[in-house]
């Protein structure tokens, strides 16, 4: 180990082994790009707020989606859980005028319930979770539209939350920063602890790596899968209800962009589509990268339509990088020991 070249390459290999390395590179490049072309206003607090607000909403959903993807599953139903939760809190606390606590509780319970149903369905039928949650995406969207029109006679419902609820769930701090940024930071800490420091994280990696071996090792794989789906339902519901409180109204169709945005953020963050690898730091970087591209474009002189192109190219690059880093991580360790 005294050979400096071996030490250096060992350090490089341990860096390459970290799944967030690629996403950090992507984030730095994208940030530098928009700092250069976006000019001064991109770097002001208002510029930062514009992408941090977007990042926080996507990020709260992307974290549990990332856990699911590491475990080898997918959840697209969040696209309709978000508006369903918005609508639930608006109908319960706006239309019926019940206390906001009840509306929030009902919305969160709805998210947990959809997650529970998704999870049970996936575990019992062994169907691909993409198909199962695609089914619940449409079912929940239909239920939301049907019940909302049935109860309120319209597709948009206003809600007026009290100052306490606004302060906690839906207001702009300093006139710019959504309070959800702080919830996002909290979620990063909690999910980061779960994935990287608790034994449950090890179970999630094992589940995504090889489900049968994980089960043989005594991991309650079915329970874990159901809990992960409930986690993504819960987070989607949280985002839904807090945006309703923030904007003082709920719309029946307002969540479908979250499906792809969260998956893209997770993949840019270095999570393997095949499961078994990923990190919370990576997912956070990926989310920030996505938000910077989608908002930063407005600070440049470019037509905003180009943002999707950049995101598409970034996504492809991220997938290629993920593969390359994974190969390097697997190859370096054998070659080094031969050295």
């Amino acid at each position: 180990m005294s050979n400096p070249r071996i030490r250096l390459s060992a350090r490089f290999s341990s860096l390459a082994r970290r799944p967030e390395t690629g996403s950090l590179l992507g984030l730095l490049i994208v940030f530098a790009f928009f700092a250069f072309f976006g000019g001064h206003s991109f770097l002001t607090p208002a510029g930062a707020a514009s992408w941090l607000n977007v990042a926080s909403e996507i990020g709260i959903v992307a974290l549990p989606i990332g856990l699911l993807m590491i475990a080898g599953e997918l959840d697209v139903s969040i696209g309709s859980v978000i508006p369903a939760a918005s609508m639930t809190v608006a109908v319960v606390s706006g239309y019926y005028g019940l206390p906001i606590v009840l509306g929030v509780a009902a919305a969160l319970a709805l998210g947990l319930l959809v997650g529970l149903i998704n999870g049970l369905f996936v575990v019992r039928t062994a169907l691909p979770s993409f198909i199962v949650t695609l089914g619940s995406l449409f079912s929940v969207a239909g239920l939301t539209l049907g019940f909302t029109v049935l109860i309120t006679g319209s597709t948009g419902v206003p809600i007026k939350a009290g100052p306490a609820a606004k302060a906690i769930l839906g207001q702009f701090v300093g006139g710019k920063f959504e309070v959800s940024i702080f919830w996002w930071l909290g979620a990063i800490v909690i999910v980061g602890f779960l994935l990287h420091f608790s034994k449950f994280g090890n179970w999630i990696f094992a589940l995504g790596g090889d489900k049968i071996s994980a089960r043989n090792a005594g991991i309650p794989t079915d329970l874990l899968t159901v809990l992960l789906f409930m986690g993504s339902g819960f987070s989607a519901a949280f985002v839904g209800l807090s945006t309703a409180i923030l904007y003082n109204s709920a719309q029946v169709a307002s969540g479908s962009s979250f499906i792809f945005n969260s998956i893209i953020s997770v993949v840019i963050g270095g999570v393997l589509l095949t499961g078994g690898a990923g990190s919370v730091v990576g997912i956070t970087f990926g989310t920030m990268t996505f938000a910077i591209v989608s908002q930063g474009i407005f600070y440049t002189g470019f037509d905003a339509n180009w943002a999707s192109l950049i995101i598409g190219v970034l996504l492809l690059l991220a997938v290629l990088l993920n593969n390359t880093f994974r190969k390097m991580a697997l190859a370096f360790s054998t070659r080094l020991k031969g050295a």
């Binding site: 082994r17 420091f197 034994k199 071996s213 043989n216 991991i219 393997l272 690898a277 991580a329």
Partner: protein, 273 residues
Amino acid sequence: MTKPILSLRDVNKSFGPIDVLHNISLEVRPGEVLCLLGDNGAGKSTLIKILSGVHQPTGGEILMDGAPATFANPREASEHGIATVHQFGGTFPLMSIGRSFFVGAEPTKGWGPLQIYDRKRANEIAVKAVRDFGITRIEDGDRLVGGLSGGERQSLAIARAVHFGARVLILDEPTAALGVKQAAHVLRIVNEAKRRGLAVVFITHQVMHAMAVGDHFAVLIRGAIAADFRKGEKTREEITDLMAGGETMATLEAQIETYMNSHDGHAPQVGSH
């Protein structure tokens, strides 16, 4: 002679109308390697699945230390000390050595909801366990399992099983996918497990590998035990012949040669006569 840890008595298994195993009786003793030989489709994997609790026998009984035992699932089999290591080690390529070693049994520090996975301890124990089996190339528990060679992965899986108290080790074709050197490596590990007093069931269709470590041999043909003998009682050729279903390879070769001589050097077409 020591008492068997695990014995099968007249075990039968059928899936609906299809009989897969007929009256299988076997014994495995501590510090002994039982080689289960058989061609593809002879029923080896069904037998392993019965031993490891994936399937339940439709007839006969399984005894652990002389007492009847039933394994409703793999968990129960492993609680009885039966560990199965599959061809590719059953490990997680993208997890670190330490993490994959302790999957499902993670060491933690701290208390309550703030219990933290003890990475340092997990790595230390895992690396030591693997090194004790002679895999001295492994020094860093943070390395990914996928970076190990096939033989090293097998060894890691065996070391893991032993660490968690396995008494009966079932090795399902551990050398099938390996090169000569790697296979020799795994065979050394099998000998080490035997030396430590484990009962090993070694499933293979490579006679050479079986003869290198085996004390006791059973040849499985079409779901039944065709021969049961101890080390030194049969030659390699005799065993190969047995596995081929009694028809000796030599006769087969002679037949092909005769056919080729009378057909302008063309090999016989399968199913043409």
